[in-house]
């Protein structure tokens, strides 16, 4: 899966979780940039991304998810070769 594809699919995840079809994301996007991205929404994001990409984040990895770039990189690693 190319980074571009991951961004496209992750954008859909963000739009679904925050119910906002106008959301755009970049590597630097953090919780500060998206209204409603609180701790509960963060878990929702993690669960939606896991479902969408068919992966599981490890407990230790969860602590390192600070911005969209972290998500994309980790998803890319886990989806390597697909």
């Amino acid at each position: 899966m190319h980074e571009q594809e991951i961004y496209a699919a992750l954008t859909e995840v963000f739009r679904d979780v925050f119910d906002d079809d106008d959301i755009t994301i970049s590597a630097a996007t953090t919780a500060e940039d998206i209204p409603g991205w609180d701790s509960q929404a963060h878990v929702n994001l993690v669960v939606a991304a896991e479902t969408r990409f068919g992966i599981r984040f490890r407990t230790a990895e969860l602590e390192a998810l600070h911005n969209v770039g972290d998500f994309v990189q980790l998803i890319g690693t886990k989806r390597k070769g697909t």
Partner: protein
Amino acid sequence: MEQLAWLPVHDDLGAALSAARRIADPGERLARAMHLAGFRRDFTATGRLDRLAEEGLAAPPAHLGLVPLRLAILASHTVDHLVPGIRVAGLHRGLALAVHVAPYGSYRQSLLGEDPALAAFAPQLILLALDAQDSPIDLPLDSPESAVEEAVAARIGELRHLWRRAKERFNAQVVQQLLVPASPPLFGSYEAMVPAAPHSLLARLNAGLRAAAREDGVLLLDLATQMAGQGPADGLADPVRWHQAKQLVSPVMAPLHGDLVARIAGAVLGRARKCLVLDLDNTLWGGVIGDDGIEGIKLGQGNPTGEAFLAMQRYAAQLGRRGIILAVCSKNDAAVAEAAFVNHPDMALKRSDIAAFLANWSDKAGNLRQIAKQLNIGLDALVFVDDNPAERDIIRRELPDVAVPELPEDVALYPTWLGAAGYFETAGFTADDATRGRSYAANAERQAMLEQATDLEGYLRSLEMVLTARPIGSAELARATQLVNKTNQFNLTTRRYTEAEMQALAEAPDSLALALRLTDRFGDNGLISVVLARPDAALRPDEWLIDTWLMSCRVLGRKVEEATLQVLLDHAQHQGITALIGEYRPTARNGMVAEHYPRLGFTPMAPLPDRPDGTLVWRIETRGSRPFAHPIALDTLCTNRRSTRH
């Protein structure tokens, strides 16, 4: 199986949600959310549905027919992520659920101390969602059985105290969540032999909770059993989410969790389904009876397919014995279809188990309407099981009120899917439930006799009816509450009460709460009517408001109303009441009783203050008002507390 597998799959739920979000009117968005809640959905889509409904739920338009209920969740773990799933599953069941989540881990404080937010919310249903990590029993592993028993009893005692407080303070129905194992067994299969081992302790606690709940009128939420085998392999609890956010129930499972909670809320409000309507060919037996004949269909032992169909029949028959009405709706020649019931040696279902049998060549939507009419129940009481996806699709479009489960290809899995769908969740099981099937069959006999009778009065007299009226006591409470919550048609005010609220009404010294049974020569019809009468601030002290008057439609047309009014007037007069005030509050379903009071000789009066629009009010004097004749013998001992003091 996938969670919510019995719900049909939408072509593009995401796009439908995005489109629905652009609807300007909140009520219309809510209506759209109710529709979309009936499709299979994951955690994220369920969250979107909840937001779609949110604004409309604050003031739902009356035409949507949503029944409001206030649910408070008192939890020892995080539950906020579960609330959307509960609300959305509520919408699917016609419930407008307001959900209040008490601060995390403060359930004792909320019930024993002061919780102004909870008090202001005034919950009708309180879900006590506790987990095994909360107040764990910490005993050495080699503790003797007696020490374990003692510790378990102490914990159960504490919870019962909380249940009592919830009832006393809020008049709320309590739902206790059974404990879910938090860690793997220590001893493997040997675990149960060690009383103080974690899984042993949990099993004992859960057994104790079940017994105490039955005694105290508390309902149970059994997540482990109900969720087993559904959803992803990780199942109900995900340790990652527990460590991350103290979520006992994985968000992935929130849609099913919400459905389980909403089922109980629905059962408390009488919104559960009442009747299982079955197709025949390839649903109850393999093959087509009209083509293959009795010898050709696959049913019974000796062949795997035949065994699978037999198991399906047995499950349906068991549901029948539980009080679910059974009906048949099939495209078939009636004589051929009925002959299979009579002549096939392996049928687990008998013709006498089927309360309405419609086998013909007309469309099934029409037949389902006919079944509802014949049984005097609403379309929203029906579950229609058909192996044919095209028929299922037609019924879903033509009759959206009928529940039509998706089914797997293999009939061997039909009972599992049907059971998992939870259409028949209940808040009680009474002797009347166990005999309901027989009662509906007896009704068919009465109907046959009526068709032969030349005059109605002669027929009614020949039934030799006896109406027994008793104040609602502990023996009648469960069934009376069930009737109050599920009677829609013959119901003057459609007030719904939880068991705790009913008990409070029954125990009020200046009120009357009557449970009425009807027996006749064909047997006992069970508890068929409930009447609640009480003083009201809008009335004089020597007047009673008929708060609730409802009756099972099974005994319609038998002058039970006249006999009931006589009982009611006698009781009221005996307690010094001079007049009864009756209200009719119209709903979409209770048009049949619009003329109830004038027909019984009540006279119209001016509306009372603070009543819903359209409420009509009537009055009758207790003295001398017995202008009606009826052929029913009365067994009424005037045994209420007040009269014994006179």
